[in-house]
């Protein structure tokens, strides 16, 4: 099947799906939209006024930091805590990600937060992307707690809060981390990681099997995530 045919088929299916929603109507009245718009405009004006006063101070701060370090910091300090995960930015440039076994990870939130910590990542839900051949260097980029021997995999139930330390500085140029979040039929959540070539990868909707020994792929299935 060539590209145009595949696209046409997908387009037809999506259009058909949209076409079945004829009974779905927007109930919000125009007045409510306008009210919401006015509120947004007021907020924007307020932020504009506050921002003007803050510009001088923040510019001075950036100049000061640049003077000391030689470049603007790429990692912000502190931690992000969500229901599903905690992401801590460490002073040595690494980031520590801890998954909460009781909640499903939101891919967009995790991807944006990793990006803020300087970790280029593609987080997908219900799919997993990988490159062939797999870029080298995974073991320098990702370390895992609790440490596991051989295949770097945690079987379900081993640890309630698996922790991964990410070293973005060790990522080879042109690579990013692929995170695939799957909800298994057992009700457990599986998160699979792999280093991929950012310009060449393919995605699958099948949760990857446990990786072979020595492979660069890590997965864990937190227990009790039902």
């Amino acid at each position: 099947m060539n590209d145009d045919t595949a696209l046409g088929t997908v387009r037809d299916s999506l259009t058909a799906a949209k076409g079945t929603l004829t009974e779905t109507h927007m109930n919000t009245p125009l007045d409510a939209i306008v009210q919401r718009g006015r509120a947004a405009r007021r907020r924007r004006r307020l932020i504009g006024l506050t921002g003007t006063a803050a510009v001088a101070a923040s510019a001075a701060l950036v100049v000061g930091l640049t003077g000391v370090t030689g470049s603007a910091p790429t990692n912000r300090a502190g931690a992000i805590r969500t229901v599903a995960f905690t992401l801590v930015s460490n002073p040595n440039g690494t980031a520590t990600l801890t998954i909460n076994n009781a909640a499903l990870v939101d891919p967009t939130t995790l991807q944006n937060d990793l990006a803020q910590d300087g970790v280029p990542a593609m987080v997908t839900s219900g799919s997993f992307c990988s490159s062939n051949p797999v870029p080298v260097g995974f073991s320098q980029v990702v370390s895992f707690y609790p440490a596991t021997a051989g295949n770097h995999a945690l079987p379900p139930g081993v640890h309630p809060h698996p922790t991964i330390t990410l070293h973005p500085g060790a990522m080879p140029a042109g690579t990013e981390l692929s995170f695939g979040v799957f909800q298994l039929s057992s009700g457990e959540q599986q998160v699979t990681f792999e280093l991929i070539n950012a310009s060449s990868y393919a995605c699958t909707h099948t949760p990857p099997p446990s990786p072979a020994n020595g492979g660069s792929q890590v997965e864990f299935s937190p227990a009790g995530s039902k």
């Binding site: 099947m1 590209d3 045919t5 595949a6 696209l7 088929t9 997908v10 387009r11 037809d12 299916s13 999506l14 259009t15 799906a17 949209k18 079945t20 929603l21 009974e23 779905t24 109507h25 927007m26 109930n27 919000t28 125009l30 409510a32 939209i33 306008v34 919401r36 718009g37 947004a40 405009r41 924007r44 992000i80 805590r81 969500t82 229901v83 939101d106 891919p107 967009t108 939130t109 991807q111 944006n112 593609m122 987080v123 997908t124 839900s125 219900g126 799919s127 992307c129 393919a202 995605c203 699958t204 909707h205």
Partner: protein, 160 residues
């Protein structure tokens, strides 16, 4: 075109497209309302665009990202218990929609603008702030993923 006229003509279409992307009726309505409110604020500019409803859909999808960032600090107690028509529920829970929602954000945006709103590559590229070639790459990958996730698409293709 006046904003009121635009809202009346575009609101249902925008809602259905965003609904396919997020899968939740109440959430979709809220996001689309947010998108239209932003369009109202910038209407003098938005009305001159080639595809103002695409601008609203993209604003709604971006609002969804912002919403996730806000809600991560909150504990959600209500479940939005609203009756959903059976047909809507069946479509939204289907394999195709699950596959669409599983795409990375950029690919999903490109699929939405190119295939659901029928924009051309150039307009999509301008709206998303990327090169036309990148739109093509995202679209190709997305179509591959959607097709491989749905074996019956290949069957449909063979029977044509």
């Amino acid at each position: 075109m006046e904003f009121a006229e635009f809202y009346q003509s575009a609101r249902d279409d925008c809602l259905r497209i965003v609904l396919l992307n997020v899968g939740d009726r109440q959430l979709a309505e809220d996001l689309v309302a947010e998108g239209f409110a932003k369009a109202w604020v910038s209407w003098r500019k938005v009305r001159t665009y080639q595809a103002p409803r695409a601008w609203v859909v993209r604003a709604a999808l971006n609002a969804n990202v912002s919403r996730w960032r806000r809600r991560r600090r909150e504990v959600i107690l209500d479940g939005h218990d609203v009756a959903v028509p059976a047909e809507e529920s069946r479509v939204l829970s289907g394999d195709l929609m699950a596959a669409l929602r599983g795409l990375p954000l950029r690919q999903r945006e490109v699929v939405t603008l190119r295939l659901l709103l029928d924009l051309d590559t150039e307009t999509t590229a301008r709206l998303l702030g990327m090169a036309p070639g990148t739109v093509g790459v995202h679209l190709h990958r997305a179509a591959e993923t959607l097709r491989s996730a749905l074996p019956h698409l290949a069957d449909q293709e063979a029977s044509k």
